[in-house]
């Protein structure tokens, strides 16, 4: 088994690796473009979470200033789990994963392909939630800084989430497994993203936000690398 994988690795260059990644990501996006079941579920869910927060926290002007970033990230994290779970479950249910694994590409290409499509879904949800939140609460959430923080946070979230969701769908308790596995290990991302976002929104000076951004970058790099290394073990039969 390991012989064939190493053989594949050496026989394929970078170009074909990226082509494989692109093909897998594109397959997910095209399927989603036709069915729209994943995105619509994530979006409706995200809206409901914001609605619940509105009543649970009484988001008046004064509270809003300090907890907007927290509300946003909880919404993203919850909607993200929904998306991650579904995107992997679809592969598993219809036997697509086996097909993908049979394809003569490096396993990590499958991982990166799934990461890109999951990241795309998450960013689309975030791109809808932000303006809606801005309108509903009459604030302006658009700034380059916030978008950067959201991008960094989402990369870390999806990098670990994709790996863990491919584990979760292979367990008996798969519907409940992903958040239990994901949330405790994603704490650094959530803490850093919440603090960095609220720093940006409150217009704090850059040197107070920078430590959080550093932490996000470090997390993203470490966990993308680790997931890349161990993905083979998660999907092998």
């Amino acid at each position: 088994m390991s012989n064939t994988t190493t053989h594949r690795r050496t026989s394929l260059g970078f170009g074909s690796f990226f082509r494989a990644v692109g093909a897998i990501a594109w397959k997910d996006l095209a399927a989603e473009l036709r069915s729209r079941e994943l995105l619509s579920a994530m979006l409706v869910f995200a809206m409901l979470v914001i609605l619940i927060f509105n009543f649970a926290l009484e988001l008046d002007v004064k509270t809003r200033a300090t907890i907007t970033s927290g509300v946003l990230w909880v919404t993203f994290a919850f909607a993200g789990t929904l998306g991650l779970n579904r995107s992997m479950a679809v592969e598993k249910d219809r036997g697509c994963l086996d097909g993908l694994l049979l394809a003569p590409v490096d396993r990590s290409a499958i991982y990166f392909g799934k990461v890109i499509s999951n990241l795309a879904f998450m960013l689309i949800v975030e791109a809808v939630v932000l303006p809606v939140y801005s309108i509903l609460y009459n604030t302006n959430l658009f700034s380059i800084g916030l978008i950067g923080v959201i991008l960094l946070g989402s990369i870390g979230y999806v990098a670990v989430g994709t790996l863990l969701s491919s584990m979760a769908v292979q367990t008996r308790t798969r519907d409940v497994m992903l958040p239990i596995l994901l949330f405790p290990v994603i704490v650094p991302v959530l803490v850093a993203a919440v603090k960095a976002s609220s720093g940006v929104l409150q217009g704090l000076p850059m040197d107070e936000i920078l430590p959080w951004l550093n932490l996000l970058v470090v997390y993203d790099v470490i966990f993308t690398a680790i997931a890349f290394m161990v993905f083979d073990y998660v999907v092998e039969e």
Binding site: L163, L164, T173, K195, W212, I226
Partner: protein, 232 residues
């Protein structure tokens, strides 16, 4: 079924005696702390429990990596043994910490970096146990377990850093920065000796339990294989 090895029997007795000695040291050898009084005594076993808990989680991470390299199910047994024992020890550490914190800080719990990280670490390894329960195939269970200990073990230092950053940037409102106000104290030599002795004793207890748990793991594996043989 193999009989309990002689060395393990001896180790059991040794750890029992050492534990009794540690209890004696904590209560009679180490002096009473001037400010906090008797409640400070919980500190010796608290540190020892936390130490053993960490030791086990590190052992689990290392055996996870070895498992992924060698694919030898023996290492999976070692890994799950380490996690299971450490879960209990770490839980005791958290509880004893709370018992100490209530008189010292006037609260059972505070969201301090160490406390929060400890709670998250405990949750990660509970998630690990839940993950294992959901998988029947022993080989897949071992792979997923190893991957998750790796991910979990790597995220813990980052969690600690993130929460410490959270607290240092955030102004400290309750309890100033000075250590004495937060319940810190200087240790006399006798206190230090008691603490180090407790740590050593708990390490021995850990090894004893570890050994037992690995033996149970081996037996469980044998039973699983026999069951498979029956169904075939």
């Amino acid at each position: 079924m193999t009989p309990t090895p002689r060395a393990l029997r001896i180790l059991e007795i040794v750890s029992l005696l050492l534990f009794a000695a540690a209890v004696w040291m904590v209560f009679f050898y180490s002096p009473l702390e001037a400010v906090m009084g008797a409640v400070q005594k919980v500190f010796y076993f608290h540190v020892a429990n936390a130490w053993v808990g960490m030791l086990g989680f590190i052992a689990a991470g290392v055996s996870g990596i070895i498992y992924l390299r060698t694919k030898d199910l023996k290492w999976d047994i070692v890994e799950v043994a380490a996690v299971e024992i450490s879960l209990v020890f770490f839980f005791i550490a958290i509880v004893t910490g709370s018992i100490w914190a209530y008189p010292a800080w006037n609260t059972w719990w505070t969201w301090d970096p160490r406390l929060t990280t400890a709670a998250i670490l405990e949750l990660i390894y509970i998630a690990y146990m839940l993950l294992r329960q959901g998988i029947e195939d022993p080989e897949r269970r071992a792979r997923f377990g190893a991957v998750y200990t790796l991910i979990g073990g790597l995220s813990v230092p980052l969690t600690f850093m993130s929460i410490r950053l959270f607290r240092t940037i955030h102004p400290v409102v309750v309890g100033g920065a000075n250590a004495a106000a937060q319940g810190g104290f200087d240790m006399t030599p006798k206190m230090l000796q008691s603490m180090l002795f407790s740590i050593a004793v708990f390490s021995v207890i850990f090894i004893t339990l570890f050994w037992h748990r690995i033996r149970i793991g081996n037996l469980a594996q044998t039973v699983e294989q026999l069951k498979l043989k029956l169904t075939q």
